[in-house]
């Protein structure tokens, strides 16, 4: 038999948005808050970026003292703020399914087993992921090894001190792509080639200027045509179908193009737009059933950690209003 526990508010996801919501709710006087996180640490994506001297600084927060804080430092500062509250943090707790009408979530945890949590309000702060090659729709060809998402690059370079490739091709040209090019160069790779299907890079000139300190990748457009991955066991190149040129490489990073992690909302029959996977939110970040809210990158779009943190705080205020 599964045990059931009640909380006033349950927050799914302990990334910047979930933490922002938890801290704000606590400061607004809400007691009995559970912050449920499926991985074994809090802080979300920023926590994957390790600080290295001279290393590429992303996820910057300009703190009051004017000293920039980024990556895992930022994640740790959030953690410290959270520790000052009474919020119950459940790590290694994956939500398996939700029952939207009951405001119930069912999760599994190695120690606690399968648990049902009911609440008066649930905030989904599940974040987003990078679109797969199939989801982008214009990347075809073979499926060899060393076609990585940026997150995996972080896990290898920062998490394990490994440089997975020397001659990178980066698919995508937003801020994340240029950060990835910089990170690879700093870690010892050659200059990356950045490829996207638009006419020019999606990343703004000013943002690209910031990364020039570490790398100056060249940009190729596929001119709205498809890009083909080449290589049977291992990525060895890409071919732009517009001119048939083969760009050799020994690894590909598929960057940016974030898509919401809204599968629990879909499973629970809350309204979600397809194929964008954006949950349908009304006023005050409410989802299509009462008591369900969404915060952070699950809302869709493209937001850095700071935006997500402050969005979490706004959603917390919306929950407080919902209660009164």
């Amino acid at each position: 038999m599964n045990s059931t526990k009640y909380f006033r508010v349950v927050i799914i996801g302990a990334g910047p948005a979930g933490i922002g919501a938890a801290i704000a709710l606590s400061r607004l006087g809400i007691k009995s808050i559970a912050l449920v996180e499926r991985s074994d640490k809090i802080g979300g994506i920023p926590s994957l970026y390790k600080k290295k001297t001279g290393g590429v600084r992303t996820f910057i927060r300009w703190s009051r003292g004017g000293i920039p804080v980024f990556g895992e430092e930022y994640a740790n500062s959030l953690k410290r703020k959270l520790a000052k509250t009474d919020v119950k943090i459940w790590l290694q707790s994956q939500v398996l399914e939700i029952e939207a009408n009951e405001k119930k979530i069912i999760l599994v945890n190695p120690v606690k087993g399968i648990m049902s949590l009911t609440a008066d309000a649930v905030i989904m702060a599940c974040g987003s992921r990078e679109k797969t090659p199939s989801e982008r729709g214009w990347l075809t060809g073979s499926r060899p090894i060393r076609v990585f998402f940026t997150k995996q690059l972080l896990q290898l370079i920062d998490g394990n001190d490994l440089l997975p490739m020397h001659n990178p091709v980066i698919i995508g040209s937003d801020l994340i792509a240029y950060a990835a090019a910089a990170k690879l160069k700093y870690a010892g790779s050659q200059e990356a080639i950045v490829v996207d299907n638009g006419r020019g890079p999606k990343c703004s000139y000013v943002e690209r200027l910031y990364f020039r300190r570490w790398s100056q990748p060249s940009f190729r457009s596929s001119a709205f045509k498809s890009v083909e991955v080449v290589g049977s066991k291992t990525a060895s190149g890409i071919r732009l179908s517009k001119d048939g040129n083969l760009i050799p490489c020994d690894g590909i990073v598929v960057c940016g193009e974030l898509i919401p992690n809204s599968e629990l909302a879909l499973q629970g029959l809350l309204k979600v737009e397809l194929p964008s996977r954006k949950p349908v939110v009304g006023r005050n970040y409410q989802l299509s059933k009462p008591g369900w809210f969404a915060a952070g990158n699950i809302l869709g779009g493209y937001h850095g950690a700071e935006w997500c943190y402050f969005n979490g705080r706004r959603v917390a205020r919306a929950v407080k209003n919902y209660f009164s």
């Binding site: 190695p110 394990n160 291992t234």
Partner: protein, 512 residues
Amino acid sequence: MNANGRLLYDWPDDDIDESLRFSDPAQLGEDPYDVVIVGAGVVGCALAYKLSQYKLRVLLLDKNYDVGEATSKGNSAIIHTGFDAAPDTLESQLVTRASRQWPELADKLKIPYEQCGALLLANDEKQYKQLDKLYAKAVSNGVDDIRLLSAAQARVLEPKVPNDIQGGMVIPRESIADPFTTLIAYAEVALANGTDILFGVEIMGIEAADMPIKKLFTARGQLITTRFLVNVAGLGSRKLADLYDGEIFDINPRRGQFLIFDKYSRSAIKRILLPIPTAHTKGVLVIPTIFGNLLAGPTSEDFSHDDEAVTDTTIEMLQSLLAGASRLFPQLVDQPVIGMFSGVRCNCSQGSYLIRCNDGHAGILTVTGIRSTGFTSSPTLAEYLVNELHKKCGLHLEINPNASDSRPASSWPGWWNRPFSNGKMLKKYPEFGRIVCYCEQISRREIIDHLDSPLKPQTLDAIKRRTRAQMGRCQGFDCQIHVAEIISEHCGIPLNKITKRGPGSEIVAATK
């Protein structure tokens, strides 16, 4: 399950546990084998399973680093009834008979299997007129539990079909199963019964093919001797046949691309949906998978024998698959596509199911041209091949009373059985509750159990096929590196040497 046979990997840089490393044929014993099976695809594994019921010394080998790394890993996973086969062929007989054996086989070998049924749809008048012929063909194939339906009746069964269908035919026993677990099950039972298994070994030379004891040479020049040789090397079968002067046959890869849809669309239909076949093609099907997704496919594209791009996926086919699928299930095109894959059939110009006994020389059995029905017919085809080896090639058969033909209940894959749903299991092994693959909800313990399983998988793809980790909508975004770290830690392989499918596919490029 205990392994009585030897399991070894030829891993060139020695990045594998000592106990699994193949370096010397002496590790396999001194005596010649009775049978060497070249190719661990579905046919090779099924044959190993059947042969292991007898007192024989058998070796199953493959140039890749897991069972089913080539043709057998890319298919529709349909267990065909044979209703639409060309009647009175060996293929149709084997398929029809196998179809009735599958429920018991799946139960014995712990293969996830579901008799979801199929619905054939006539989109227009012309197609509707063909239904009677298709009905008669099914009956003559021994598939008599089918029913013709009016449009209204078809819509009752499957409300999501297009409004303008004219009618259809339901085939209740058309089924789906897990193709990956099938090969693993066959190979595990064979191994338990004493079959030796060798991965990463390609036969590059044969001598004394005309003698009672044939000499097979690996790429590294190592010698393996055997009385009987079975060539089930699929797309590699021509290359192998050339080594023993086998008779002429021409094979080429015939690609079939598929789209994979997310799981939310699964509940919209119950059955496999099929179009009426034309003279040229079976058409695009909408196929539920045992894992809970929907597939649309396959295409049918012929390639020349040595085209490297044959397993690629293409934009043009993506469009044509969506168009084909929409004729059966119009709303499917609005559902998110989470992946594309290609399967490659071994197409033989001389015909399907080309089986030659004493090919080139006595004691050599060549099997090629097994296309879309190989997965279905594997149990009966294997029995047929055992019989041919015995009657026509002279293989002596004596039943081994100690041989097993099934796997224990603990063999059911975790994604099917959900160990964390079992309170007692979870209390005993908390790591069943530590989720690694979030999309498919696969735990760390399941991954480690598979790393310890009899075939001792070493690669990301081998773990993917067994556990479902990396198969979900995020395609490894969240879990791939974590899975690599688990394999690295558990098998003692440095993280940078973890591969997708064996040497040459390392996650970290070698330093120049």
